[in-house]
Symmetry: C2
Subunit: 248 residues, 2 copies
Amino acid sequence: MVARYELIADELRGEILAGAYPMGAQLPSESELAARFGAARGTVRQAVAVLAAEGLVGSRQGARRIVLGNARSQSFAELHSFAQWARANGHRYGGLMINQRRRPPTPAEAARLGPGEVLDVLRVRTLEDEPVLLERTAYAEWIAPVVEELPPDCESVTQALYDSAGVVFAYGEHLIDAVPASAQDARLLGVRRGSPLLRQRRVTTTHEGRPVECSDDRYRAGSVAFSIRNSIGANPLVRHAGDLHFGA
Amino acid sequence: MVARYELIADELRGEILAGAYPMGAQLPSESELAARFGAARGTVRQAVAVLAAEGLVGSRQGARRIVLGNARSQSFAELHSFAQWARANGHRYGGLMINQRRRPPTPAEAARLGPGEVLDVLRVRTLEDEPVLLERTAYAEWIAPVVEELPPDCESVTQALYDSAGVVFAYGEHLIDAVPASAQDARLLGVRRGSPLLRQRRVTTTHEGRPVECSDDRYRAGSVAFSIRNSIGANPLVRHAGDLHFGA
DNA sequence: AAGTGGTCTAGACCACACG
DNA sequence: GTGTGGTCTAGACCACTTC
């Protein structure tokens, strides 16, 4: 079942990306759109809210919506998986488990995952056969047995956990900064010690709010960048919706 | 004029942050909240949409909303200014213009700002008197005269441009990655050449969609990190609202 | 089967931008 | 002043989760 507002959003997005509205141009008013699509104004507002969350259009009270961009990138909402992102962008990707062991949680991990033992996994992920990402992941005890059954060269852990245990990585919290490569980082990623890495620390939970993993992911500099669009002021329906993308 | 849904959101946020609902707990249903606040269901939905955009609660069709976190951080929506962020977080901050000159735009700048000359400004920003950020900003020609009038030690460029020219930095697009410090970066930030920097490249536009600046900002490693919360699946009112925060 | 959130309607009033 | 988006209401139906 596809919602009406999604169809309207798709149609408008298509027109914007096709260049029907150049950057800075005005969108039709809500009433015009409502008339054109035969929908209520509220439904049209929901549709343009989607575009606003994508950073394609902006709005302010009293003035018509304007077009802010005409390129679509991969939404961060879909980035709960390296594999999903790589596949969506047409990359050749792979992964290899380097090391895996159970251990007591650090205090930070215990605060996020609970008091049980964690399963500590070290993986290297490749893009076009080049190592670009080092994942150091601590899985919560309840999911550990499933993770231990995965093959070492599992291409998509997220997919595998969904298929075998129905686990969905629904919510994530991320901290992004830059760190120098440790000796181990350097060896596994093929860079010099101390060279810059883009670090993404994350905690993931299921739909029910049950914590699944904390991870420290390090990307080789130059391999990826995070892309974000944001806005201040009056946005439709939510006060602010930043949209994070993920691109080369 | 404060909207009703904002007041309701504030009230619920306060209860969550005060610990009335522990992590993973269920929020009251929309009808219960509507009855409690004497508001229509739509208004309550708008309120919880705010909390969802902040990453505090999550939702799925058929089940009650759950609490995902109980800490509030500075929203990235308000991060259009280093000074605003620093002030909000109680830091002592400052800035110094190192260099400023007009020059022809690079092709990338011309594509974003238009064909005119740009005003190229190099600034160092400090936190607790330590240099933490190097800003290399290219201002569009139309705003250049205003920027040239600013004092070299201007603490908040965003504020100054608003006060003197009514310019609002309304929309931003950001690319975040890690780079090694150049010789100049190293000298001005007091780090070794080649050491990791967190880079944020951004393009900013006004409410009307008029481009103001593109900038290449480099943070010393360890000084700041970007924080993001996101979710997949059915969110209220918008398909997905990632929320980006900015913290130490 | 009952309850919940997700979608949609058709109206109303207000604050703000623009001419 | 006119038109725009922002807020709010009061209803309806549907898809989903939960028991």
